[in-house]
């Protein structure tokens, strides 16, 4: 699965994208966030305030309980401030 990071999530993780092979136990967005946050301090800091993290699956907004089956690209970012 392709992962993409934006704004301060990207800065804290230190890269804007990566490709990962997910263990079979990771079935929802929340699972994926837990799995990533356990990786190192950068990820932990990016996802420390889990509530605030917004998610898009294949470029559409999704909730943290959304399933990952069939998803090619998941993106994580802070609340948007465009406009």
């Amino acid at each position: 699965m392709q992962l993409r990071y934006f704004a301060w999530v990207r800065e804290r993780i230190g890269q804007d994208s990566e490709t990962v092979d997910l263990p079979g136990s990771i079935t929802t967005v929340a699972d994926l966030l837990d799995w990533l946050a356990a990786r190192d301090e950068g990820y932990a800091s990016a996802f420390a305030d889990r509530e605030i993290i917004r998610v898009a699956l294949d470029q559409e907004h999704a909730e943290h309980d959304a399933p990952l089956a069939g998803v090619r690209e998941a993106a994580f970012f802070p609340p948007m401030t465009g406009g």
């Binding site: 993409r4 934006f6 704004a7 301060w8 990207r10 898009a56 470029q59 559409e60 907004h61 993106a75 970012f77 802070p78 609340p79 948007m80 401030t81 465009g82 406009g83």
Partner: protein, 164 residues
């Protein structure tokens, strides 16, 4: 609006969405909608500008999610066309470095009726603020790279107004 009929896609107003680093020209965008339809009675535009924040700000840097930014604004614009009787709807959002006084975002809504044009433009802006994947970082005049701009609760409330 209390319109209960759902227009077929063919009846819906043309939607034009552009994500670009280049500046835009409000007059040219209005002109394009006018030329397309001689029965437009009302054109509402919204232009969002970079403020100078009391002289502190050197520039904003706008990061976006390429692909999703265009897709999401198009989804919001299509919803506006289903909800109001529009003759055209254009949204342009810039990314990259923008200095105080510069243009950030443009919405143009054209309709036979002024209420529809006003409401559609405001709806599109409210949803764009909370759903379009853009993030603003401040660069200050004192040379420091400032913070990422925080999302505002008032923007979420503004968007929630439109939930029927």
């Amino acid at each position: 609006m209390t319109d209960t009929s759902t227009p077929s896609p063919a009846d819906l107003a043309p939607v034009e969405v552009r994500i670009q680093s280049d500046d835009f020209d409000v007059a040219a965008e209005i002109e394009q909608l006018r030329r397309a339809n001689p029965n437009i009675g009302a054109v509402v535009t919204f232009t969002g500008l970079c403020r100078d924040e009391g002289g502190r700000l050197a520039a904003l840097e706008l990061e976006h999610y390429p692909g999703m930014a265009e897709a999401e604004i198009t989804r919001i614009a299509r919803r506006a066309c289903e909800r109001w009787p529009l003759d055209g709807l254009t949204a342009i959002h810039r990314h990259g470095r923008i200095e105080p006084g510069g243009n950030i975002v443009l919405v143009v809504a054209a309709s036979r009726h002024r209420r529809a044009a006003f409401e559609a433009a405001e709806f599109l802006m409210d949803y764009l603020k909370t759903r379009a994947p853009f993030w603003k970082k401040e660069h200050l005049k004192d040379g420091t790279s400032g913070n990422w701009v925080d999302a505002r609760d008032s923007d979420t409330r503004d968007a929630d107004r439109w939930k029927a």
